[in-house]
Symmetry: C2
Subunit: 364 residues, 2 copies
Amino acid sequence: MKISGKHYHTIWEKENDPKTVQIIDQRLLPFEFKIQDLKTIQDSFTAIKEMWVRGAPLIGVTAAYGMYLGLLSLKENANLKNQIIDHAKYLESSRPTAVNLKFALDLVLEKISCAKSIKEKTELAFETANKLKADEIENCRLIGENGFPLIEKISAAKRGETVNILTHCNAGWLACVDYGTATAPIYLAHEKGIKIHVWVDETRPRNQGARLTAYELEQEGIPHTVIADNTGGLLMQKGMVDMVIVGSDRTSANGDVANKIGTYLKALAATDNNIPFYVALPLSTIDWNINDGIKEIPIEQRSEDEVKYIEGWHDNKITQVRLMPENSPVANYGFDVTPAKYVTALITEKGVCETNEEEINNLR
Amino acid sequence: MKISGKHYHTIWEKENDPKTVQIIDQRLLPFEFKIQDLKTIQDSFTAIKEMWVRGAPLIGVTAAYGMYLGLLSLKENANLKNQIIDHAKYLESSRPTAVNLKFALDLVLEKISCAKSIKEKTELAFETANKLKADEIENCRLIGENGFPLIEKISAAKRGETVNILTHCNAGWLACVDYGTATAPIYLAHEKGIKIHVWVDETRPRNQGARLTAYELEQEGIPHTVIADNTGGLLMQKGMVDMVIVGSDRTSANGDVANKIGTYLKALAATDNNIPFYVALPLSTIDWNINDGIKEIPIEQRSEDEVKYIEGWHDNKITQVRLMPENSPVANYGFDVTPAKYVTALITEKGVCETNEEEINNLR
């Protein structure tokens, strides 16, 4: 999608330097636009762990390129196989909740397993990362195609009046490679001339909604309004929301959806007000080994400082301020799990399905 | 309650200067503790409008003292009656949602109506404000007494293990004159040696939870943890919340509760997880003229800047940072309305009652 009118992906190989991968440093958005070089597996680990890149699909692609960068640093030796496995474990430890991370790492490990030389393994890892990137783009495009009729239908029912869509966090193209998951149907609807307006949850504590989703929508010229996370319930009660579309970091085989903390509260409000609640995700986000998301999906706990302090723009630079008493303790859970019964349907690259095990399995 | 070990109220007449009322400037907490002088009705208006003081009960008391300060500035004249009514209208316009504001102003108008001289009216206004203040203190004390058994019961059922209480916004003593509403049972339970722990919603956009409730609890030595507003649902799902207690800005005769934006979402989560959801309020908060809170209670819309910017502590001073793209629009609704069916009970100075019209009316 576009930034200042120019088309970008979130990750790409550097021009004339295939040993360097480049990313948009998302920590600085929307205040500064900066491109970062990733030259080592450690760079990739840091980029994921410290959230220079974020969003399940982009994390997966970044990890795949990380395996490639890691192979560039290895020499032929008797212990090579273990070193490669250690690389994968290292990268996997960067963010525990994202199932795409493990999916991407397993894919690279599988693709390079039969190659004889380190050169060949490296080439295959690069190809696999490129392929994964292309697949993510295509998946998001298809999620857009499949989700679009849901917006179109509401627009028709409202006789062309504005369709109000609420989203939480950033499941936009900045979380993927292009198009986004939750945003893909939105971008397509806008492109096709359907009148839409997006309510953007700011999404504390890291404010990915206010910082990234608002930035994406602004750059694409899509009408939107940023709200505090507390606001969605009131808007739904007042008939000011026609549908909710969010992304997912991990979804269980029965349709329980792990997503950014606070998603569950919006699903409850949507249910209470008879508003459809959709989750847009590539099938790679589904963890087929898990049948009870609430009991089985581990919830990442992050640093206290993400709640205690906040970053914003002040005096032409990013500035961190403390929000609360210095000595008050903080808890910072990254995700929650929305039970399948509150999810109207999943929007995937293979189609839209209700959240029950059989329907989901049919898309496999 | 205590600040740095010394007992304070939130509002009081200045020592040796009865023509000045003093308040704690709550805009600066928890970073700086500063006392402000209110010398005119305009000072009182500004203190309410700009949230130097906030919380329904404290707003009412501040408005009553505002009428007194306003009378100090008037001279005997043929138009006096209208001038006094204009004063009341002026103060009423400072915060549209708080029903206590109108209650306090009507009370002062009534008490001074038969007085002949301006001197007598002024004295009566001062007495009325003092009496209202004393009543607010006593009401909060009684809310504590009446709510305490609810905590005690859970503590007993848990065999003395810690009772985890979630609260939203600040319905603490800083919102009242002393004790608070939602916090009164908490303070009493702590005083009586019951093990408690409070989950404090930070309460965006103005962060009254992180800034004020956390500060209150810290100063009283009560175990607490600050969380992003998005977190409560997960905690409830995981069995980490035993009860919710919040305050109210206005409650309809049928028990629909207007309170800080986001309260409704917590009530939905409590209901979904079979956790009792209590609202602590003085009866003056009940608007007997309203029988459908969702349709009839007006929702205050506040400045975009409260969402777009945030204040915190940086470089030893309060600093404001911008959180989002400069050109993205914002909506900022101050309150939402929780339907009575999601409220387990009201805790009032006259007792605890279920949220149906008959039970509520019996307390009248």
